[in-house]
Structure formats: C-alpha cells, structure tokens
C-alpha cells in the first residue's frame, strides 16, 4: 500500500507525459488529479491504521530493493510511514489534490496542459519520496527531484526568457544549499556508519560520538541545505522570482510543500539538533533575520504574488525560529496551518489574476469584492488566519511559536512579535488595496471582471474551512486537557515505551506561568488589532493607493528594491564568475588546451615525417637496416 501510494503519482506522470498529447484535456487533468487523490485516500487509511491500532509498531516500513551495495556501503531504497511522515504526506497529497483540481480550470486554455499535470504529478511523487524515505539518501533523492520539478514548473512558460532565468536561479541557489546538505550527509555516514534514520538516531542517542563538534557540524551543514530549499538568508532570493511560474505552482510548491522540506529535515534530525545548542542558535537567529527582512520588503511590494512570496519567506523564518528554540511541535503545527492559509491565499490571488485577465499589480485593482464575492470571502479568511485573528488556525500556531520564543530568549520574542505585526500590515495593505476602494484599472473594464468557475472556488472554500478549524490540531493546554496538544502527543508518542518516538529527546512545554501566557496572547492580539486599524484607516477610509515605483523615496525605496540584495549578489558572485568563465573560455581553452591537442597532432606529424626519411625505397639501405637489425637481435639475445 505504501508503494502504491508513492508510485501512483509517478504513474500519473508517465501516462500524462507519454500519452498526454493525445488525450483530451479533461481526461489528462482529471487523471492527474485522481492519481494524487488516490494517494491521499491511501495515506488517510494508513494513518488511521497507524494511530488506531496499538499493535502496529511505530512505523510501516517497506523496502523495495537494495539501492547501493558496494563493499561496506549499503543503502536501501526503502520507505517508512511513521507519524511525522504521515502528517507531511497528508498535507502534500491533500492540498495537492485541491491544487490539481484548481489547475484544471486555471490552466484550461494553456497548450501545455498535459505537461503541467505531468510535472505536478512528478513533483508529488518526489515530495512523497522525500518525506517517506527511511534513510537520508532517499530524502536526498526526493530533495533533488523536487528541485528539478521546481525548475520545470517555474519555467513552465518557457517561451519567456525571463521565466527561464528565474527557473535557473531557483535551481542554482538550491544547488548551493545542496552542497551543504551533501557534506552533512557524508559526515553523517562517516560518523554513524549508516544513512537509515533508525540506526543513525539510535547511535546519536546512545552517545557514540566523543566530541559534540561533529554533531554541530552535521546540524549546520544540514541547515545550509534547508536554507536553500526553504528560502532563508542568504539563499532566499529565488523564491520571489519563482513567482514567474503559474499560480498553482506557487501555491503548491512555493508555499505549502516544497519549501517546508527544510523544516521537515530539521524535525527529522531532531536527535542531532538536540545535542547541538550552537546549531539551534544559528537556526533561530537566521530564521529571525529572514522573517524580519522579508516582512519589511513585503511592505512595499505591489505585485500580488510577490507580497505572498515574501510573506512565505517570512513565515518560514518564524518556523525556523521555533525549531531553533527547540519547539518542534510548534514548527510542524505552523507548517500545517501555513500550508492551509498560504495555499488559500495563493489560489485566491490566482483567482483574482484570472478574473482580472492576468493583471497582477494591486495598484491596478480595487473594489473587486463586489464582482468576486467568493474569492473575496475566502481571501479575507486567509488574511485573517495569517495575521493571527483569534481562534483561527494561524492564531494558535503563531502564538505557540511566540510562547516558545519567549521562554527561550526575550529579545527573539520581541523581534518575532514585531515581524508578526508587520505581517499584519502588509497583508491587510494588500487585501484592502485589492478588494476595497475604487476600481483603478484602465485596460480592462470593470464589467468584464468575473468570479472564477466552481473548479477554482471549491478548493478555495475547502481551504478556507481548514484555515478556520485547523487550529484544532494542536490546541494550547489552557483550553482543556482532552482536546489539546494532539500534534504534540503524536510527535512524542512512544506506544507506552515500546518504541522511540519521532522526537527522541522528548519535548517539554515551555515553563511559563499562566498569567504570562495570557499576557503574551494579549500582546499578539493587540499587534493584530493595531495593524488592522492602521491599514484600514489608510487604505479604506482615506483611500490611499501605493505610489508608483518612480515615486519611492528613502527607506521605502530601499524596501521596494528588496534591500538591493539581488544586485549585491550579482556584483559579488555572478559577475566575477562570468569574468572567470570568459578568461577560461578564451585563454585557457582556446590557447592552452587547443594548443596541447593540436601540439600532439603536429608533434606526431613531425615525428612521422622524420621517420619516413628512412623509407626511401632504396634496396641497399633496406639491406643495411636488415643486417643491423639482425645483429642487434643477436646481440640482445646474447647479452
């Protein structure tokens, strides 16, 4: 069943890839959707098996074949379905199904329709391999696979050269992170002698390493990989550019699933991170810096998808803050809720773009709530969730992160709170400018703006519901013992001591007094309220519109230009590499290598010319040569 769940999307990829050209659009679209839906159903059933039956061990393990076996080196192509990977799988396949459904309508007049679904299915397959692998090598396999699919899908509209550049940028930055990941993997194998999660973590827990420096090194290297995949500083600039891909791609890959692979990696390697406080600190501070920086940049962005992209980077930063504070449950909780509302927001923005006939600048929108009510409503719910409206899913998950940050380091808490506040500002700014006020588009008449078809609005509604009730996954304990902390229990579940839980070093709730907790809660809510009121005042009551690009000044200009980071990278890395390439191409290759190769040719030519003098056709010379040859032979034989 596990194998079927994983390979169903691969089957969809193959069918759509090979035969898609000949199938009618409806069939290839629904086929792709059905493949993922099938995986979701199997995942659900397996999850209920896993948690319902106490006789089943902590994981369902399937080995397909021996991947590599060279001397002492042995790796299996094997999958394991345990509680952590089950949660991830449900999200991937569940939200994946909704997005596939959405894409049938969104991409319906694209000529590469079947290709899109093939790539989407391939992506789901690789993501499943990533989270369901039972060893680090399978994780890497999936890691690279999703990187490939990201490239394919970002550059989906390949006829545009800029989109291709964005795709390459994503791939290259990912690769840089992958170097760190690979080094970490090598170090893991070298230290613990295996790639299998069970064996590695058992060794880690048994404390088989003398110095902890190795663990720190491994943790940091793995985090470098996570930096690349989950868009943290300094490897985050690819994510906003990745918005060049179709909106369903942005929703699935760059919001809900692929970018969370880094978080998954860290949670999975909790045993290693638990032994290395230094690595955790690094994770936390980088997460914090990323969160703040991205939030600030988001304040001045005017493309509806770019705002959401920077929002994603910022929220990922929050998740890494949680990981750094040792709050793995909070991080996973936020992954889940973020998947719900971010996918919702992206799909909503896709709906807006679709209704506005591919207009993406919010300054050319306005007053859309009358023409697109369902989109408006669901987008509102998404915005409220992300900014932390009380009792929605985002509220609970964000609050948990803030609480654990507070318990760890007050300064981090303060800055994280500020970041959360800025979230409110830019989200509501975008919301009000897009949906309220007067319609400002000059190319496209207001009458032509329309609501999207049901295939697009249905996923929006489902995700909206999930965004509202999603908090139930891990309610805080002050709301009641019976229903609280389900996720926490799941991750720490050890079957009554029969097996080791996902989190090998058990997680303890932060030791904070109840009153302090209520105080923190209040601070989060008040920040939300302030942001809401301010933006409402500015953009609805006063009707302000974000200014044109040329009119930006001072700090606003810096933010609008994304702190000039891309330009800095270009000068520091890209230009020097290109110059080096030029030198090597023109000098080393043209002169040295070519000279060497030609030299060999002309050298042998010269030698042969020399030797051919001997062959002058004259019998007498030949006779002398013969005699000398015989004499030499005899002489050699003699002595």
């Amino acid at each position: 069943m596990l194998t079927l769940m994983i390979f169903l999307p691969l089957l969809g990829f193959l069918v759509n890839g090979i035969f898609g050209k000949f199938l009618p659009k409806a069939i290839s679209g629904w086929l792709g959707t059905a493949a993922v839906l099938g995986s979701f159903v199997i995942a659900l059933m397996s999850f209920m098996d896993l948690t319902g039956d106490t006789t089943i061990p902590e994981r369902i393990y399937t080995k397909l074949f021996t991947f590599l076996h060279v001397g002492n080196f042995h790796v299996d192509f094997a999958f394991q379905f345990d509680r952590l990977s089950a949660v991830m799988t449900l999200i991937i396949t569940g939200i994946g199904t909704l997005i596939h459904l959405y894409s049938i309508a969104y991409m319906h007049d694209d000529e590469g329709f079947y290709k899109f679904f093939a790539y989407l299915n391939l992506f789901i397959f690789n993501m499943l391999v990533l989270v369901l692998g039972s060893n680090y090598l399978m994780l890497f396999f999936g890691w690279e696979g999703v990187g490939l699919c990201s490239y394919l899908l970002i550059g989906f509209w390949y006829k545009n050269a800029d989109y291709g550049k964005a795709a390459r940028k994503a791939f290259v930055m990912n690769r840089i992170g992958d170097l760190g990941l690979l080094l970490g993997l090598f170090l893991i194998y070298d230290t613990y002698g295996s790639f299998e999660y069970q064996e590695v973590f058992r060794s880690v827990f048994a404390g088989s390493v003398e110095s902890n420096a190795v663990n720190t090194a491994i943790a940091l290297l793995l985090f470098i990989g996570a930096m690349g995949k989950s868009a943290q500083i300094p490897l985050y600039t690819w994510l906003p550019d990745a918005m060049a891909g179709p909106t369903p791609v942005s929703a699935l890959i760059h919001a809900a699933t692929m970018v969370t692979a880094g978080i998954y990696l860290v949670i999975r390697s909790e045993a290693i991170y638990a032994l290395s406080p230094l690595a955790r600190e690094v994770v936390m501070w980088i997460g914090l810096a990323t969160s703040l920086m991205a939030a600030l940049i988001g304040l001045k962005q005017n493309d509806i998808k770019k705002v959401l992209a920077y929002s994603t980077v910022s929220q990922l930063g929050l998740m890494f803050i949680a990981l750094g504070c040792g709050a793995y449950t909070a991080a996973l909780f936020h992954v889940i809720t973020h998947a719900f509302f971010k996918a919702l927001l992206f799909l909503g923005s896709g709906s807006v773009i679709h209704g506005m006939h591919h207009e993406q600048d919010i300054r050319h929108m306005g007053g859309l709530r009358k023409k697109m009510p369902i989109t408006y409503l669901t987008f509102l719910i998404g915005t409220l969730a992300i900014t932390g409206f009380p009792f929605l899913s985002g509220f609970f998950s964000k609050d948990e992160i803030l609480v654990s940050a507070f318990a760890h380091n007050k300064l981090v808490f303060g800055l994280a709170l500020i970041s959360a506040g800025i979230t409110g500002f830019y989200m509501f700014r975008m919301f009000f400018v897009t949906f309220h006020g007067t319609y400002r588009n000059t190319h496209h008449s207001f009458d032509k703006v329309h609501e999207s078809p049901w295939l697009m609005t249905l996923p929006l509604l489902v995700l909206a519901v999930l965004s509202v009730i999603g908090g139930v996954v891990n309610l805080p304990h002050y709301l009641g013992e019976g229903i609280s902390g389900i996720l926490h229990h799941t991750l720490n579940y050890d079957g009554g001591g029969k097996f080791s839980p996902i989190l090998i070093y058990p997680e303890h709730a932060p030791e904070i007094e109840h009153t302090t907790e209520w105080l923190l809660l209040g601070m989060a809510v008040s920040v939300f309220v302030i942001a809401f009121l301010y933006t409402r005042n500015k953009y609805v009551v006063q009707g302000a519109v974000p200014e044109a690009d040329s009119a930006q000044t001072g700090m606003g200009k810096v933010l609008a230009n994304k702190f000039y980071v891309d330009e800095a990278y270009d000068t520091a890395f890209v230009s020097s590499l290109e110059a080096a390439g030029e030198v090597v191409g023109n000098y080393v290759d043209d002169k040295a290598v070519k000279g060497l190769v030609d030299g060999v040719g002309s050298g042998s030519n010269g030698i042969s010319r020399l030797l051919s003098i001997i062959q002058n056709g004259n019998i007498e010379y030949y006779l002398v040569y013969m005699v000398i040859g015989v004499a030499l032979l005899l002489a050699f034989n003699l002595f």
Binding site: V624, V627, I628, V630, A631, L634, A635
Partner: protein, 179 residues
C-alpha cells in the same frame, strides 16, 4: 695456433677466402663469376676433407656446373662484360663493412660464449651415396618430393617471366630510338 693446423686445410682456407674477396671486389662481372666458380672448387675440396664425398661432387655439378653457367649466360645476354659501374662513395663501403663486420663479430662472440661442446663422433662412410641415400629416402622422403614441386614451380615461373611481350618491346625500342 695456425702452426698446428694441417697444411691442406690452411691452404684451402686461404684460397677460399681470397677468391671470395675477389668475387666481391672485382669490377669486371665475368671475373667475379670465374672467381666464384673457383671458390666453389675450393669449398668442394673442403667437403672432401670432411668426408662428405657425395656433397663435394654434387656441389661441383650443381653450383659450379649449372648455376654459374646460368649466371654467365645472363651476363652474356645483357652484355655486361665491360661493366663500368659507377663507384660508390667511400662511406657506403664503410657502412657495409661495418655492418658485415659487426655481424661477424657477434657470431664469433656467440660462439665463444656458448663454448664448444660438440662430441667428436666420426662415422666411416657417412658421406657416401649409400648412407645418404638411405636417410634421404626414408626419413626425408616428403621434403624430397616437395622439392620436385618446388622445381616445377620455379621452372614455370622462370619461363613465364622470361616471355617477351610485344608491347613492352615496342615501347623500349621507341625509347632507345629517341634517347
């Protein structure tokens, strides 16, 4: 060392080497042929000394009597009696001498190194026709028959090669009339 050797051997060897040298160095081809015939005679004398009477006679009949006569015929045919071969440059002579000399040296050295362990086992009458004939027609009968075929091939080949072709002749006579 040379004193102990029997006179016949010394004289014969001297004559052989002398006439061989004359064969090689003579300017007149006819002189060379005659010197070679004399060399064959001396070698036959050596054979007699070595108790190989049959071979001595056969050597004379075949080599001196048939092959050398053949050479003479060709010489006469080509009218080379007054040959004035262009003198080769000296260094070529030196090169040839060195090559031949080195081979001589090496073979001599080889013999020195290997030592002389040949058991003397003189057999009365081993060179007579009767003894040789016995061995030839029993142990070596197949090679003997094969030499018959070899002669056939050589005869056919020689005759065929010697045939005059009318076209070639016309060409050559035209060349001669021009140049």
């Amino acid at each position: 060392m040379l004193q102990n050797l029997p006179i016949p051997f010394l004289v014969l060897s001297f004559l052989t080497i002398l006439s061989a040298l004359y064969v090689v160095t003579s300017k007149n081809p006819v002189h060379s042929v005659l010197a070679l015939i004399f060399t064959f005679f001396t070698i036959s004398a050596h054979y007699v000394l070595l108790n190989a009477q049959f071979l001595a006679v056969v050597n004379l009949i075949v080599y001196a009597g048939a092959i050398m006569v053949l050479f003479l015929f060709v010489l006469m045919l080509l009218n080379l009696s007054k040959e004035s071969e262009p003198v080769k440059s000296n260094w070529w002579g030196i090169a040839a001498a060195i090559s031949a000399g080195s081979l001589l040296l090496i073979i001599t050295a080889a013999f020195q190194v290997s030592g002389e362990a040949v058991a003397k086992n003189p057999v009365e009458g081993i060179g007579l026709v009767k003894a040789l004939g016995k061995v030839l027609f029993t142990r070596f009968v197949v090679p003997f028959e094969l030499t018959g075929i070899l002669f056939l091939a050589a005869m056919v080949g020689a005759v065929l090669l010697g045939k005059r072709e009318k076209a070639v002749d016309a060409l050559i006579s035209k060349e001669e009339s021009n140049g």
